[in-house]
């Protein structure tokens, strides 16, 4: 395997990490208003994410940084091209991070309900927009070659909201919501657990339908369908297993298989993309692939060493932190849920 292909795989792995991990925490944020009915429940739901969400988000930062390092042309064309969607994602991630940290500082109902609304919206937007972005990448976008020889996005904002991409967005949104529900069913106790289980089943069926439509449409657009058919099969089988496990109340398996299905979605999309990284919508037009978008062999070599040494270490300690916080959280473990730490002067 060439270093270029290897780095394509690494980028895919980073996005798998991101979708599987932040995917569920987007889902939890979206479900907050429906799954939790009082302050204790809301705080229990948010506390399941407490020690995890920031580490989950780093997968995105590393995916971005690794794309910059390994495929600078891809990074430049993608980030300047998908300008407004990425801007909306940025806004969401900014608001979400401070919302988690600040919402329970005061007991005030007004203060908390505003941050809760912020959490829901800022979880929903990226969950939708990442799907839109990836669907567009796989489908191909209008690209032109500039005088300087750069390949540049030339489609504008509305072009990104085509039906196929919107279906992709709805698919990731629904996928992340169900994935989040499975996570909550696994990590909470009491009524939240029951509601999450039920919601996971309902939204999970919608996800199944959307995923089949989306992956089917993806297949139609590609000439070599082998990889995508295999990937889609894994998605469907894993997803049905997750739903079956959820129905039987086997929460660990439900979450595990929804994680596998999420990972398989990313694998399927990247398989459909390979060896391109940003194909042109018009066949035969200029596009970016793992060769013309890449860094030099030397840089890829350096980064390979860094990735091979660091990724296992990161997985080890991040996994360990998940293990430390494996216990279920029950709303009755939250003492004085209505009170914020800044309410009374000591």
């Amino acid at each position: 395997m060439s270093l270029n292909s290897f780095w394509f795989v690494i980028i895919a792995v980073l996005w798998i990490g991101y979708f599987v991990l932040e995917g569920f925490d987007f889902g939890v944020g979206i479900l907050l208003p429906v799954v939790a009915k009082n302050q204790a429940e809301r705080r229990a739901v948010l506390t399941t994410l407490g020690p995890l969400w920031d580490g989950n988000e780093v997968w995105l930062l590393v995916a971005g940084g690794a794309t910059f390092a390994a495929f600078p042309e891809w990074y430049a064309t993608l980030f300047s091209g998908f300008y407004l969607p990425l801007f909306l994602i940025l806004l969401s991630l900014i608001v979400r991070g401070v919302a988690f940290e600040y919402r329970s500082k005061y007991g005030s109902e007004k203060w908390r309900s505003r941050w809760d609304l912020a959490i829901t919206i800022s979880s929903l937007l990226p969950a939708l927009l990442w799907g839109v972005a990836f669907a567009n990448i796989v489908r191909g976008v209008p690209l032109t070659k500039t005088a300087a020889g750069y390949i540049q996005y030339s489609g504008g904002f509305w072009n990104l909201l085509n039906p196929y991409a919107l279906l992709g967005g709805l698919t990731t949104l629904s996928l992340f919501v169900s994935h989040g529900a499975f996570f909550l069913a696994l990590k909470t106790d009491g009524e939240i657990r029951v509601r999450a289980n039920k919601l996971g089943q309902q939204v999970g069926l919608v996800t199944a339908l959307l995923a089949v439509l989306f992956l089917g449409w993806t297949m139609l657009g590609l000439t070599s369908k082998g990889g995508v058919i295999a990937g889609s099969t894994v998605v469907v089988v894993a997803w049905l297993t997750a739903l079956a496990a959820n129905m039987k109340g086997r929460e660990g398996y439900a979450f595990l298989f929804s994680a596998i299905a999420t990972a398989a979605v990313v694998v399927t999309l990247f398989t459909g993309l390979y060896p391109n990284v940003m194909p042109n919508l018009t066949a035969g037009g200029p596009g970016l692939n793992i060769f013309n978008a890449s860094s030099t062999h030397y840089t890829l070599g350096v980064m390979t060493w860094v990735a091979l040494i660091m990724t296992p270490i990161v997985l080890l300690y991040q996994g360990w932190s998940y293990w430390i916080f494996r216990k279920r959280i029950n709303p009755n473990q939250i003492s004085t849920p209505e009170v914020g730490v800044l309410d009374t002067v000591h």
């Binding site: 705080r43 948010l46 506390t47 407490g50 020690p51 920031d54 580490g55 988000e57 995105l60 930062l61 590393v62 971005g64 940084g65 690794a66 910059f68 390092a69 390994a70 600078p72 990074y75 430049a76 064309t77 993608l78 980030f79 300047s80 300008y83 407004l84 990425l86 801007f87 940025l90 991630l93 900014i94 979400r96 991070g97 401070v98 940290e101 600040y102 919402r103 300087a148 750069y150 540049q152 996005y153 030339s154 860094s295 030099t296 030397y298 840089t299 350096v302 860094v306 990161v314 991040q318 932190s321 430390i324 916080f325 959280i329 473990q333 003492s335 800044l342 009374t344 002067v345 000591h346």
Partner: protein
Amino acid sequence: MSALDLARWQFGITTVYHFIFVPITIGSGFLVAGLQTAWYRTNKDKYLRATKFFGKLFLINFAIGVVTGIVQEFQFGMNWSSYSRFVGDIFGAPLAMEGLLAFFLESTFLGMWIFGWDRLSKKLHLASIWMAAIGTLLSAYFILAANAFMQHPVGYVLNGTRGRAELTSIMKVLTNSTALAAFFHTIPSAFLTAGALFAGVGAWMIFHKKDAEVAKPALKIGLITVLISFVIVAVSGDTTARLMTTQQPMKMAAAEAVYNTKTNVPFSLLTVGTLNGSKSVFQIGLPSVLSFMATGNVNGTVEGVNNLEKSYEQKYGPGNYTPNIPFAYWSFRLMIGFGALAALISLLALWFIRKGQFPRKRWFVRSMIVLPFLPILANSFGWIFTESARQPWVVFGLFKTSAGVSPGVSAASVLFTMVVFTLLYGVLAVIEFGLMLRTIKVGPEKTIDRDDNSKTLTMAY
């Protein structure tokens, strides 16, 4: 305004804003780790209460520093795609390393620290805050190495066919003299900033008769941290100035508004009049100090703006290679001035509180409240100086800022995002400042429940 100007403004606004919080986070992370270590060693309750109290201030800052940092990584691609294409082969590597080595470390271990009070052993819990603090240091190093390439490019070769700079030695990029000097200038500045915050908070608490047990050590630790850091900042600042003289002589000349090449150049403290070199101006200067700062020799020659402009035009072709001189001159002075003022106030304060006294005077507590803001201003002016006085280059001698902007992004798009970022950042600043003040007012918890068998969570969102 053009997309270029707007993109520059956006970078300035978002970066200066981000860097208000970064030094506080880096410095107070270590100070909090130090307090917790003191608790671990002595088992004294006051250190635990101090750890939790300053830990809250640290986390309020950390949250906003993290989220505004994400913008930085995206922004290169969004607004500066041509720049990203030109430097990606080199610049992307330290950025990716920052993510893999530093961001994962800080975020994971900080999560363990915040939520792990009742889940980890005392020792592991202490280790987690140290790991997070080390993560912030690594992060600083990689991003400074990336920035150093823009100040003083090393370890690269130009590829004409692909129109980009390509990496030839990662070791050269990571051991760039400019990066090392910047690291030893920026990190102690971060400690200075956090020290000033601790001292200010401590003094305010003592003045208002709140929890002297926590406030007294905070004040003392804060002041000592400021003074020790200031010495290191001054020494590394001196090294940085000398490197700047050889690597970016125009920046040094701009910092001092030296138009004509001279020897025995004084360091000007203050200038009245214009700084455009045409009129004679009134200056108060320290004789030969600039020559010494720049070259290490009182008789050293400092190249002037006019001579450098001429030689750059010969070397790089026609164009304007002079940065905004008054801007550079004043930002350089404000950086040094605010930093030195913080050190001076801290030195005097340390004198006043010797033998455990505390002057209950309004002027004293007021200057202690001003203290934390001084290094924040110094940090901001320092970066404003170092980035703006490099202009017109984005990568010195290789690539101009004007060539770096995204060709496909309209001025309207950049304006729109800039306005929204600025509004959001403004709102967040008000919220964060309010939370900081309230946390200080609420003060440290009086008693800390250390019952490990408790059914309730020690920490919940």
